[in-house]
């Protein structure tokens, strides 16, 4: 219990502290230190779950089970590595005059508060608080997306705010309907929104209400997942914000939103006893994969390219949860983990590359392997990993998914394969010349901080070859829970 409190209190306190002292030169270090402490607390929480099993804390308001424990650890970990990456990155942005000290203060403070809202969304047992945390996650990132105050970034932030605000309002309506159905069984008051309580009585929840509620919840949280056709905000927000923000948006926020959808899906399916929720998720998932794959080849901006790749992967995961069953859910959970690690690593590499070449246009970036070998290799390895090349972890999860799809939803397999092939061709043909193409530029004098990139990629490689037994057990238990 104290571990849960620490995981939540540390980023919150860090965010408030950085709001006060964020202009000092030490602020980036405080940011890293806060993230490190959060990671340590999350590690302690993970150990506690390994030793004692699932936990309920503070009058059941918070809980950890096999589904959210690895996501908490992942969020804290990527939060920490991103803070490491952002220290040199933001310093250079400041030296180039793109950001003032006041904006750096805003950045650091909001970065920690954003981590707090995501961890709160993951750890809370209350579906209402989950909604509040998701909305707060939007609010903390709006000003991060518009940090550069360029016309494009303002537009991206406005779109992000309005679309996600409207989306999340739909989710609130869904939550109200959920409470409405639950209140009859569990009585009015806080208990009727607790997920563990709802899960206990899900068989008796009113099916008509739950099916309407699920549509609202899926559309609402699905907007934040970036599911097509609700994805419009995502490429803009990723491309126009600072790169560390793109990394955490893509690597973490999308996962957390999807987590919310899946928690709702468990309840709805328990109540309906039909495949309604699954079919909706499969439909949205497949549409996202196909549309994103088609749009990938038209991208010119490297951050937009990888933003569309995120939509594609979120589609894959949603589709996998839609198929359901032990293997597909296992694949989806694994894919959530490896996508998060790989995509944030790619954004780190992309961040360095764009910072050194001074452009985000792919046509103007050439021969990274000559100008800066570490960035070049990091980018190409990350790209190969995200495109599903063996032996990286993404291959393992996509392979599991495709074999399951062949057995359970054979009609979808050719569509998925074609989309994956198309995405491979589009992304690889764009990234390859950026890394190996001819360039006249000289080798850059500054050494990039590439350690986070290679640590992430090593973990993805490891997960492709060997999944630690605890993690595999959590995946299996969570897969069973999700059904």
């Amino acid at each position: 219990m104290s571990e849960i409190l620490a995981v939540l209190a540390l980023p919150l306190a860090g965010g408030l502290l950085l709001g006060l002292i964020g202009e000092r030169a030490a602020a980036p270090l405080v940011n890293v230190a806060t993230s490190l402490l959060t990671l340590l607390a999350a590690a302690a929480l993970t150990v506690r779950v390994i030793v004692d099993g699932p936990q309920l804390a503070l009058e059941q308001q918070f809980f950890v089970d096999s589904f959210n424990v690895f996501l908490v650890a992942l969020t804290a970990f990527v939060g920490f590595t991103t803070s490491l990456f952002s220290r040199p990155y933001m310093r250079i942005e400041h030296e180039h005059g793109r950001l003032t000290r006041a904006r750096l203060k805003l950045y650091h403070s909001m970065y920690q508060l954003f981590s707090f809202t995501m961890l709160l969304a993951l750890l809370t047992n209350n579906m209402g608080i989950l909604w509040v945390a998701m909305e707060a996650a939007t609010l903390t990132t709006v000003l991060l997306v518009s940090l550069y105050r360029t016309p494009a970034s303002l537009e991206a932030a406005w779109k992000y705010f309005i679309l996600c605000g409207v989306g999340i309002a739909q989710a609130l309506f869904g939550t109200i309907l959920l409470y409405f159905a639950a209140e009859k069984l569990l009585g009015a008051g806080g208990g009727a929104l607790l997920w563990t309580e709802l899960n206990g009585v899900k068989g008796e929840l009113e099916p008509t209400v739950l099916s309407i509620a699920f549509v609202f919840l899926l559309v609402g949280y699905g907007t934040k997942v970036g599911l097509v056709p609700l994805h419009n905000w995502l490429p803009d927000a990723h491309a126009e914000g600072p790169t560390p923000v793109s990394a955490v948006l893509s690597g973490l926020l999308l996962n957390v939103a999807l987590y919310a959808v899946v928690r709702c899906k468990v309840l709805v399916e328990g109540s309906l006893h039909t495949t309604f929720a699954r079919e909706l998720m499969m439909g949205f998932g497949l549409l996202s994969v196909v549309v994103a794959a088609l749009l990938l080849s038209r991208q010119k901006d490297i951050k937009r390219l990888f933003a569309y790749s995120s939509i594609e992967h979120m589609g894959i995961i949603t589709f996998a949860f839609g198929i359901g069953g032990a293997v597909a859910n296992f694949a989806a959970l694994l894919h959530m983990t490896v996508h998060s690690l790989t995509k944030s690593a790619i954004f780190f590499a992309v961040g360095h590359a764009t910072q050194k070449t001074g452009t985000q246009l792919m046509d103007d970036i050439r021969g990274l392997v000559v100008t800066s070998p570490a960035i070049g290799w990091g980018l190409i390895l990350g790209t190969l990993a995200i495109l599903g090349m063996p032996p990286f972890g993404v291959f393992a999860s996509e392979f599991l998914l495709l074999t399951t799809a062949m057995r359970q939803q054979p009609w979808a397999t050719p569509i998925l394969l074609a989309a994956l092939g198309l995405a491979f061709a589009a992304v690889f043909s764009k990234v390859q010349p950026m890394v190996f193409g001819e360039t006249t530029a000289k080798r850059l004098p500054i050494r990039p901080a590439m350690i986070p990139v290679f640590v992430h990629l090593a973990l993805v490689l490891l997960l492709g070859l060997w999944i630690p037994p605890y993690l595999a057990a959590w995946y299996r238990q969570a897969a069973q829970l999700i059904g």
Binding site: W131, A136, P151, K159, A188, L193
Partner: protein, 223 residues
């Protein structure tokens, strides 16, 4: 069928008022009048919540009514008016909206909402269940308002009006959400409003206007 108790009739009255105000907002072009209408809608919401609390002896709803009164009638309109004064957009008038067509679409939306709400409200045990359709309709109308407006402040008022409709849905279907959730939602709305305030100044500084036509440059590249 027995006559409705007095308080239930009062709730229906406020619900009707809420819907009427939603339509009024849909057709209002002036920014200042929009803020007033928004405050009036907040007041109708607070009063109806208080009447539900009084009629059904749900004491926690008094808190909820007080919160609505404080936030939606006092604080948010005050913040909006201050913003409008500081940004000097007092006389902003929205052009280019076809009011009769918007009204017609609005009526279709109301019919749709009542149909959607019907199966749910039949299951509800609350005296206020008949108003669920109205709540849903005000959410839809606010949504429509957001779509049709081209300026930043009216769009935000639409967003806040949507929140009003959702709050009303919560009271009419379930006698309000648990207190901790309502507080969280209120906090989010308030923080969102403050952030938007900052954001408006950024947009203005960059474009010299709050017209959203400047914010339509990011598109898929097509050559």
């Amino acid at each position: 069928m027995a006559a409705l108790p007095f308080y239930a009739q009062l709730i229906n009255l406020f619900a009707a008022l809420l819907l009427l105000l939603a339509f009024a907002m849909l057709t209002q072009r002036r920014v200042l009048s929009l803020v007033n209408l928004f405050a009036a809608q907040g007041l109708a919401l607070a009063l109806s919540t208080a009447v539900v609390a009084w009629g059904t002896h749900q004491t926690h709803l008094y808190w909820s009514a007080g919160l609505t009164l404080l936030l939606k009638v006092a604080l948010l309109p005050w913040l909006l008016l201050r913003l409008i004064r500081q940004l000097d957009v007092k006389w902003d008038v929205e052009g280019l909206i076809n009011i009769p067509t918007t009204m017609l679409i609005g009526i279709v939306l109301v019919v749709f909402s009542f149909n959607l709400a019907l199966p749910i409200s039949q299951l509800a045990a609350t005296v206020t269940r008949s108003t669920l359709g109205i709540a849903m309709a005000s959410v839809m109308l606010a949504f429509l308002m957001m779509i049709t407006r081209r300026k930043a402040i009216p769009q935000v008022i639409g967003f806040l009006a949507m929140e009003n409709g959702l709050f009303f849905a919560a009271t009419s279907a379930t006698y309000g959400m648990p207190m901790v959730v309502e507080l969280g939602i209120a906090l989010d709305v308030l923080v969102g409003m403050l952030i938007l305030g900052v954001f408006f100044f950024q947009i203005r500084e960059q474009f010299d206007s709050l017209d959203l036509k400047h914010l339509e440059q990011l598109k898929e590249s097509e050559e």
